[in-house]
Symmetry: C2
Subunit: 339 residues, 2 copies
Amino acid sequence: MSKQPGRQKGPVTSRDVARLLGVSQSMISRAFDPRASVSPANRTRIVEAARALGYEPNVIARSLATRRSSIVAIVMGSMENPFYTGVLDQLAQALDEAGLRSLLFRVPPGQDVDDQLPALRRYNVDGLIVASASISSRIAAEWRRDDRRVVLINRTVPDASVASISCDNCGGGRQLADLLLDSGHKRLVYVAGPRNTSTNRDREDGFMEGLMERNAGLVGRIDAGEYSFNAGAAAAHRAAALKPDGIFFANDILALGGLDALRHELRLQVPKHVSVVGFDDIEMASWPSYRLTTIRQPVSEMVSSAVAAVAASATAQANSISLPGLLVERGSVMRRHGM
Amino acid sequence: MSKQPGRQKGPVTSRDVARLLGVSQSMISRAFDPRASVSPANRTRIVEAARALGYEPNVIARSLATRRSSIVAIVMGSMENPFYTGVLDQLAQALDEAGLRSLLFRVPPGQDVDDQLPALRRYNVDGLIVASASISSRIAAEWRRDDRRVVLINRTVPDASVASISCDNCGGGRQLADLLLDSGHKRLVYVAGPRNTSTNRDREDGFMEGLMERNAGLVGRIDAGEYSFNAGAAAAHRAAALKPDGIFFANDILALGGLDALRHELRLQVPKHVSVVGFDDIEMASWPSYRLTTIRQPVSEMVSSAVAAVAASATAQANSISLPGLLVERGSVMRRHGM
DNA sequence: CAGCGTTATGCATACGGATGCAAATGTGAA
DNA sequence: TTCACATTTGCATCCGTATGCATAACGCTG
């Protein structure tokens, strides 16, 4: 039970450094703020002493005083779709490089994102990146009022205060329509994802427009209900009944499930009997068993834009940007005879 | 520019509630602490008033006062291995259910985890769950001293103060050895993952022991270098030169890459010409194109144990637990003739 | 009704840094 | 040398909640 002042209990604080150097605590604080005015000599002394003592500013205390935290919340809806695990991975890394921490929120399926968000504000998070889920404009407005940025990935919301970064889902759908038509497909089926997602809506719209512009149409439309491998397989069974020669699955994970069902359960050859295309270009799409032709979403660009948007100064205009997807042709589409 | 006291700038604080009710701020604080003594009548009044005003305790301020944060840091090494994205997903969910938030740390490849950890302490995180990476015992000791729990998933460290949850990798390796031997395989190859991972070491050890107990051996050992699809494919090429009739890849993602290379690049049939087994049971292992026989790690149990361990009271003993894996037989192993 | 043990409440202060303002110091021009 | 002005520094206070200690209110027993 020695009570020497030398060995304190807790971690080193700015006051410890101040005492050692015989200066005020404020100066320590300022020494770590690049914009503050501290004489160069003292700044050096302080930084050295701080390192010697093992002092690191306490982020919590700082956050209490400044009302900002350098923490960005990442809200993920489903993680079933591998596309979003990739996004998450890159997001975490990009935020880290921007000096921001990521607080991860998984929204349980069925739960509403909006309900979780008030809890988030108690953490003073500086911003919010929402992937694979949406958000009400009421909530968005609240956050904006507090000067907290919110960025949606692949979703949009009719409110100018929230930034939104998407792949050009509509344009991608068109490209796929052109591809299938150019290679002579006549009996096309669209397998839709969840109704309420803008990714699904835009891809479908683009595809249909592309078809209609060339006076083509669908032989059928199947509702897969959710973005998952099994849903894709189930949809493939229903699609097969329509004798299609080409199927556009609303995303890759559906397409992969569909492709496997087509080949292994329905004994159909892909692309010989049916062509299959997807959307996203998840890693597995390139695996030799699949070689799926698809649209690649520019994930890195989307992630950098998202991070730039949350980190943006308050005055910056929140805007929606849409990045073009890239058609990646692999082996799941075949040129049809007699066109 | 009205200056009415009614409409404040910032969020509602405990003092606002106190003022409204004409009681002290401490009472508000205590009303939200189940162990504190507050008269039932007042507790009710306070909770109601709080809800009416939209008051929510500020977690940052609380954290500053209590030195705890209800935040757990999840440190992930590589996210290339899909197994860990599954773990992450479940972890985030389980922590959430335990009332804990997850701060996600991605350790860039090549970077040392230890270097990142001091930064973490500035966030007052209550605990640390490390997956797919290790940690030095010096750091572990520091955290323990501050009464911060650290839990390793699928790694161990020679220090009793850190809890460690693993799948019984060794036992899994044995099971696979038995399976391959029982089904008459004679020319076995082991494809190793990263040298410094305990998962790889234990699986290999278990496999070799299983082999040796029955006087069998390897026809060769290939070093894949890392846990990735492409590394598996590359390893398969080298393994094929050895004319094996069975290959144990240190984990599923390697096995999948290997399997595809075997089939599509080396024109070998699996399992007819070569049997293939992996470890983890990632989702893709069950896809019809692969139907990989593998050992399933009990992810849910591992995750619950990990969460229980970080949430445990300080007095609880940190211990290492090892959960058995389950052999999942699918279609990538064939019974060999003449045994 | 006095005397005592509980329970409820308020007061004051701590947690660790940030920051507006005033005081002190330094610089240059006249 | 003196005064005006810019740069450094320190003081005091705030951010929002938790909590030890003292006090007030309450219930019970004899």
